[in-house]
């Protein structure tokens, strides 16, 4: 098995795990979205990832960049809502970072940065707006620093990033929303955890679990 094959399998396996995890958490994500949104985040995420998973499991020939791009494209066309373009569009465009050298420590940092940038470009949320950006920003910052400054192994760096994301998710609870449907609530959004930040954390946890096996 060559490097490309191994990476393809890793992506497919990670996607399988993410899909299963989102299925498990579907009603929890929807409950979070009921409190400050419109009760569909669980359905949106599972609809998109199930379809992406189906597609990717059939792609025996593609390189990792293509696989990741397919995930993004599928989310864009299946999900709709706010999370469709945010997750899907950003994965789609950040997948370019893998196209030359495949998935390496360096390209994974580039991917993470590109992904966060795209989410912010599209959605206009800042850190502290009570969105997925609050989980992503600490995770991406931590991952980058762990690899580029502290020279940690990707697996260790990813573990630290997951911790950081978790801190980010917790941070969304006590603050007032400025973006997304929760922002309509004004001060009443305080005290509720953001669904999109939560699904971001779950996805990262599954990436880590896949990498650890």
């Amino acid at each position: 098995m060559n490097d490309t094959d191994r990476q393809r399998e890793a992506v497919a396996e990670a996607l399988e795990n993410v899909t299963a995890r989102l299925d498990e958490e579907k009603s929890h994500l929807t409950d979070l979205d009921s409190a400050i949104g419109d009760a569909d985040h669980g359905a949106n995420m599972t609809r998109g990832f199930r379809k992406a998973n189906e597609k990717v499991q059939d792609m025996d020939e593609a390189d990792p960049a293509e696989l990741v791009k397919t995930i993004g494209v599928t989310l864009v066309s299946e999900v709709g809502g706010a999370s469709g373009p945010l997750y899907g569009g950003s994965i789609m465009s950040a997948s370019q970072e893998f196209s030359e050298e495949g998935i390496t420590a360096e390209t994974s940092v580039a991917f993470a940065e590109a992904y966060l940038e795209k989410v912010q470009d599209r959605g206009g949320a800042e850190i502290g707006s009570k969105t997925m950006v609050d989980a992503l920003t600490p995770a991406v910052h931590t991952y980058k620093k762990s690899i580029e400054t502290d020279d940690l192994e990707p697996l260790e760096a990813l573990a630290k990033a997951v911790d950081a994301a978790e801190r980010g998710v917790e941070f969304t609870t006590p603050i007032r929303a400025r973006k997304g449907r929760a922002s309509y609530l004004g001060w009443r959004s305080v005290g509720h955890q953001d669904p999109g930040a939560t699904s971001t954390l779950y996805i990262m946890e599954e990436l880590l679990a896949t990498a650890q096996t």
Partner: protein, 333 residues
């Protein structure tokens, strides 16, 4: 939860087929898409008017397809913006060579997906213009929110833009009148009960037996304030005052009004609200030019209503009263 549905995941698909089965001469469904267009789309030489968003707001959006209103409507999953793909196919299917106006309601999902779709259609050579409706005065329009939501006032945008396009106006002109409505319309709603989405099967939010939610959105997003139940007159006064405050109209201004049902409220109650609304319009020195009462922009089975006021000038009066022939709204000469 009891609903007249089969599997929750099939409800949008089956609804669209049921609509085409009801109006086979008027509506056509795009292949493999949750998009309805006029049976004769694209109409050659006419600016296309399209809209779309999550399902659950029927007769919005597909029910307003027809002469004098929409050429196409995309139906996302319940309360979920359609994907950019779907919106893109719709826009292309509705271009009769004169370009397409997309009427977008101000939700981040809708805005982001329509943006992408407009880009995609632009690459295919379609002239696309977008307007974003944001009539809901319950939401503060500030840097600290994602802006006011688009709600029932959207119907007036569809109507005016549709009439202008039917006249043969070009894309700029059609866009201008859509913007004119947006600049002059304001809405606020209230919920007596929560809606129940087919997928979740439980109320999106819990309201006590004696509570109502003021400033409710059309997706079961909690409103801005929860209070004890009030009489129809008091609720109407609260909503109307907020709407009129926002519009700040001059004495004698003519207006169109909408009492819009959220889906679960009997028409009887909407007329009770309309009675008080018209008294208040009069008390404020305004003049009702036309009053609409009915279910236009619903929220599944939610019990409640919204009040819309739109200041009208001669141009808007002409456009709003121009003929329209759609399943959800018919205006005759």
């Amino acid at each position: 939860m009891k609903k007249l549905i089969n599997e929750p995941e099939d409800v949008v698909d089956e609804m669209l087929d049921g609509m085409v089965a009801a109006y086979p001469d008027r509506l056509r469904r795009l292949d493999d898409a949750e998009v309805l267009v006029r049976a004769d789309a694209p109409v050659d030489g006419k600016v296309g008017i399209v809209s779309g968003g999550g399902s659950g707001h029927e007769p919005t959006h597909g029910g307003f397809i027809g002469d004098g209103m929409l050429d196409g409507a995309a139906a996302g999953e319940v309360f979920t913006s359609p994907s950019a793909d779907q919106l893109g196919s719709m826009i292309e299917a509705c271009d009769g060579g004169e370009g397409v106006l997309a009427v977008v309601k101000n939700y981040e999902g809708d805005v982001m997906n329509f943006d992408t779709a407009a880009e995609m259609a632009g690459m295919e050579g379609v002239d696309v213009s977008q307007v974003v409706v944001n009539d809901d005065v319950a939401v503060e329009d500030s840097l600290y929110t994602s802006g006011r939501r688009g709600v029932a006032g959207t119907i007036l945008v569809h109507k005016a833009a549709g009439a202008k396009a039917a006249e043969g106006a070009d894309l700029d002109e059609v866009t201008r009148v859509a913007e004119k409505v947006i600049d002059n319309v304001a809405t606020m709603g209230t919920a007596l009960t929560s809606c129940i989405t087919p997928d979740k099967g439980e109320p999106t939010f819990d309201l006590g037996e004696d509570e109502i939610e003021l400033g409710i959105g059309i997706h079961g997003e909690p409103g801005t304030e929860r209070t004890d139940i009030m009489s129809a007159d008091e609720i109407t006064e609260h909503l109307t005052e907020n709407v009129l405050d926002d519009l700040d109209l001059e004495d004698g201004q003519e207006v169109a009004t909408i009492v819009n049902g959220m889906g679960g409220t009997p028409l009887m109650e909407l007329f009770v609200v309309n009675k008080r609304l018209q008294e208040l319009i009069d008390d404020h020195g305004l003049e009702t030019w036309d009053a609409w009462v009915g279910d236009y922009m619903t929220s599944l089975d939610m019990d409640g209503a919204s009040i819309t006021v739109c200041a009208v000038d001669d141009e808007l009066k002409e456009l709003l009263s121009a003929p329209a022939d759609t399943p959800g709204l018919t205006v005759t000469e």
